[in-house]
């Protein structure tokens, strides 16, 4: 997220960029400083626990998306496909494999350290398991797996929670202790979780600011910047607490001034369409994609993608009093671990609470976890709320599957459709 051209001039944005850049520098220096790294995933991850042992998290998904933003993914994917990886599968994995081949150079141009531990948090996506099986063949390092069961019946049962907590206690913590050579410190964890909860409060306030008219934020395109620190390496840190406090202050100020969101081309002038967006964004043409919205005055007021790491807006907070249990619930509760009925309920609630004009699905070729079922979700939300629903297709990091003219054509039709339905301006 740091490579994107400077679009936000706000302090919070600068702060965020520095935080992330510093983290990558620290990773690059790790072989010299002796700091150790743990590779793990975004959804429902155990950042606090990892940092409890002073280990540095590395998130291959983030590397992949950064590679895409820097225009490297095409070549990485090609390299992986040359090795026999199929065209049909998740491009994050291929991008990561290709990046490894190209020397494992991270987004800041510095080399990423090899993992000292692969912490496979198998949450909300089956591909994660395959991904780390592949990485395990690449690196000669220990791997430990946290299997997080799916909320198939739409709830977290005691046995699920127990299964996760037991694994954390009996497998994950010992593996982390072994990798770091440090003992687990529960009091430190409680402190971390307290800070997590604090940052989470501010983040929720930021996301919910979109209920204002005009919305001061874009909760999808802008949103991906907001969730960066909390879903990656910073949850539970003092830095995160500061960042989210600052961010929230800025946003509340925008609300007070009645300002719209900042877009790649400056402040958005008129808010013409309020959308809820389901599905991850495309990273290879992120700005081009965003522009297709901002130019038409479309603001994303809520999105499911900004809940991939974890869902906070239904009240979940990390809890210092139930440290391991709340970690387990965090893992179990991330958006892609919800069953389809719960996802539909969530989107419906967003459409209503954020007074959206429509639901737009960006269906991602790579990601079965998100995409399988989206067509049905779209119809269901449409039926329940009566708002027009739109559908576009692209991919996360494979530029071959981003057809700008096609998407633009669909989006324009969609916007005109909303407008027509309003009995509005043009017709």
């Amino acid at each position: 997220m740091s490579e994107e051209k400077q679009v936000f001039k706000d302090d919070s944005q600068l702060r965020q960029k520095t935080m992330i850049a510093d983290h990558y520098s620290r990773l690059a220096a790790a072989p010299d400083t002796g700091e150790k790294s743990v590779y793990t995933f975004v959804p429902g991850n155990l950042t606090e626990l990892i940092r409890n042992f002073d280990l540095l998290p590395v998130l291959p998904e983030i590397n992949a998306l950064q590679s895409a933003m820097r225009g490297k993914s095409k070549e990485y994917i090609a390299a992986a496909e040359r090795e026999g990886h199929s065209e049909d599968v998740c491009t994050y994995v291929k991008c990561d494999v290709g990046m490894k081949r190209a020397g494992n150079v991270g987004p800041t141009g510095e080399r990423l350290p090899d993992p000292d531990l692969l912490l496979l948090s198998y949450t909300g996506c089956f591909t994660f398991m395959k991904w780390f099986e592949i990485l395990k063949q690449e690196y000669d390092c220990p791997v430990t797996m946290l299997h997080v069961p799916y909320q198939g019946e739409g709830e977290i049962t005691d046995s699920m929670r127990k299964y996760v907590v037991d694994q954390i206690k009996q497998k994950i913590i010992p593996a982390l202790e072994k990798a770091s050579g440090k003992k687990f410190d529960i009091d430190k964890l409680r402190e971390q979780l307290r800070r997590s909860a604090q940052a989470e409060d501010d983040l929720v306030a930021v996301l919910e600011s979109a209920k204002n008219r005009p919305s001061p934020i874009d909760a999808y395109f802008g949103g991906v910047y907001y969730i960066g620190p909390i879903f990656t390496a910073f949850r539970g840190t003092e830095q995160a607490v500061d960042y989210y406090r600052l961010l929230n202050q800025e946003i509340q100020e925008r609300v007070r001034l009645g300002k719209g969101p900042v877009t790649p081309d400056g402040e958005m002038k008129e808010e013409r369409f309020r959308l809820v967006v389901e599905g991850p964004p495309n990273w290879t043409n992120f700005r081009e994609f965003w522009k297709m919205f901002s130019e038409e005055g479309a603001v994303c007021v809520a999105s499911s993608y900004t809940k991939v790491g974890g869902v906070y807006d239904t009240g979940f907070r990390h809890d210092p009093d139930r440290p391991l249990e709340s970690l387990a619930e965090y893992c179990l509760g991330c958006y892609t671990n919800l069953n389809l009925p719960s996802r539909v309920d969530t989107l419906e609630r967003y459409v209503r609470e954020y007074q959206a004009d429509g639901l737009l699905v960006n269906s991602i070729k790579s990601c079965n976890s998100f995409s399988a079922g989206q067509l049905m979700m779209l119809r269901e939300v449409g039926d329940r709320t009566g708002v027009p629903c739109g559908f576009v297709e692209s991919d996360l990091v494979d530029p071959r599957y981003f057809s700008g003219s096609n998407i633009k054509n669909r989006l324009e039709s969609y916007f005109q459709m909303i407008e027509q339905k309003r009995g509005g301006v043009q017709v």
Partner: protein, 432 residues
């Protein structure tokens, strides 16, 4: 008189609809799309205006008290004559372009001679193409002349032992240029007068009506363009409407109770749901793969060396459609050959191909929200009876009884919608 025009720049054909001041359809025009979009648009509008004038002519004749039967005969003859004039004009242009290419290129005297022979024959045959009750393989000069040229030149190539491919290549080069230079700007009046000279059924009344119509001033008051598949449409941004909306509105105008619209064009298929005001509520279209669109049928027709409009009727004769899976447009020919070599009957294969196309459309329809009553089928493929039959059957099987609307002018649906948008805009400005 003022008119508004809607233009639908499609991947295979460009269509125009001209509306009069009170919103009535004055005329429709169609041409094949080509690389010069502006010319394609001009030609289609030109054609629409020609058909508008023919319409006005009929009105004028009616006003003069000419009875319906006679009017019909007169108009048909006149129109056939008019088309023949057009054709001959295009043929002359083709001849001169080919002559130039022959001189400039590396062609032998033998080759030049063969081409001249062929062109002469085409000139001679022109008369037999047109006349009362005659119908042609296509309405487009490219196809019409191309078909004939190919046939004639094959014979020439054989008797003179020349390369057939080279002679075909020459035509392909020439037609590209012909299409992209002549913007049918020769006036309506000279052609209609020549046509008048040609027909037996002329009389003073007709001549008078023609003069009146020729003198009539048609002024463009507004225009809206639509079209898909091209990054750059030759219209100002504010004069462009999404194809989806145009099709929705156009279908609504033709059949006000329409709730679902299916459009199958050359490269894309669209399933659209509209409300009682013709406003689109949801839509789906194919993406990145043109399998199962109209172009597919084009390849098949080419492969079988028959006209597009003959394809459907042939498929309709089938009693036992073959099951076809791949609808990749480019593989169409191969699939056909393979099936034929397996001993399957031509009409059964064709029926299977049509069903396969419609199956894909059914998927899109399902995706867009199903098929509501009433249902309208538009786009070029709606002209194909086998496609319609397959659609009817599949709807019956999967959705039960539905009213299926198909207009003979279905190919103009998008252009009609666009024209209506133009009209609304003009009214808005006009009244303000």
């Amino acid at each position: 008189m003022n008119y508004c025009v809607g233009i639908d720049l499609g991947s295979t054909t460009t269509k125009a609809v001209v509306l009069g001041e009170s919103g009535e359809v004055l005329g429709r025009g169609i041409t094949n799309s080509r690389s010069n979009y502006e010319i394609a648009c001009d030609v289609s509008v030109g054609e629409a205006l020609i058909s508008a004038r023919f319409g006005l002519l009929e009105e004028a004749l009616a006003a003069e008290g000419v009875e319906a039967d006679r009017r019909k005969v007169q108009l048909e003859e006149l129109e056939q004559g008019f088309r023949e004039e057009q054709y001959r004009g295009d043929l002359r242009e083709l001849g001169s372009v080919m002559g130039r290419l022959l001189e400039a290129g590396t062609y032998s005297a033998q080759e030049a001679d063969a081409v001249t022979c062929v062109l002469d024959k085409m000139e001679q045959n022109a008369g037999s193409l047109y006349g009362r009750g005659k119908s042609r393989k296509s309405d487009f000069f490219r196809d019409l002349a191309g078909g004939e040229y190919l046939e004639l030149v094959e014979g020439e190539a054989k008797t003179r032992a020349l390369s057939f491919d080279r002679l075909v290549g020459l035509y392909d080069k020439a037609i590209l240029e012909v299409e992209n230079t002549v913007a049918h700007d020769e006036s309506f009046s000279s052609r209609i007068k020549a046509a008048l000279g040609r027909i037996p059924e002329q009389d003073a009344l007709l001549a008078k009506a023609i003069s009146a119509v020729v003198a009539m001033n048609l002024t463009k008051a507004g225009s809206v363009g639509t079209g898909y598949g091209r990054q750059t449409l030759p219209f100002a941004k504010e004069d462009i409407r999404s194809e989806i909306l145009c099709h929705g509105l156009g279908a609504h105008a033709m059949f006000p109770n329409t709730r679902t619209v299916l459009d199958i064009g050359g490269q894309d298929t669209k399933a659209i749901q509209v409300d009682g005001n013709g406003i689109v509520t949801s839509f789906q279209m194919n993406d990145r793969c043109a399998a199962g669109c109209g172009r597919y049928l084009g390849y098949i027709a080419d492969e079988m060396n028959i006209g597009l409009h003959e394809l459907g009727p042939m498929a309709c004769k089938s009693t036992r459609p073959v099951k076809i899976n791949s609808t990749c447009t480019v593989f169409a020919g191969a699939e056909l050959r393979e099936r034929l070599s397996l001993g399957e009957k031509r009409e059964d294969i064709l029926a299977g191909l049509h069903r396969a196309i419609i199956l894909r459309a059914m998927s899109l329809l399902a995706r867009s929200g199903g098929i509501a009553d009433e249902f309208t089928f538009t786009g070029g493929v709606a002209k194909n009876p086998a496609a319609v039959e397959a659609l009817r059957k599949l709807i019956q099987e999967n959705y039960g009884e539905r009213t299926l609307n198909i207009s003979p002018d279905s190919i103009y649906t998008g252009a009609l919608g666009a024209a209506m948008f133009a009209q609304r805009e003009w009214r808005r400005r006009h009244c303000a």
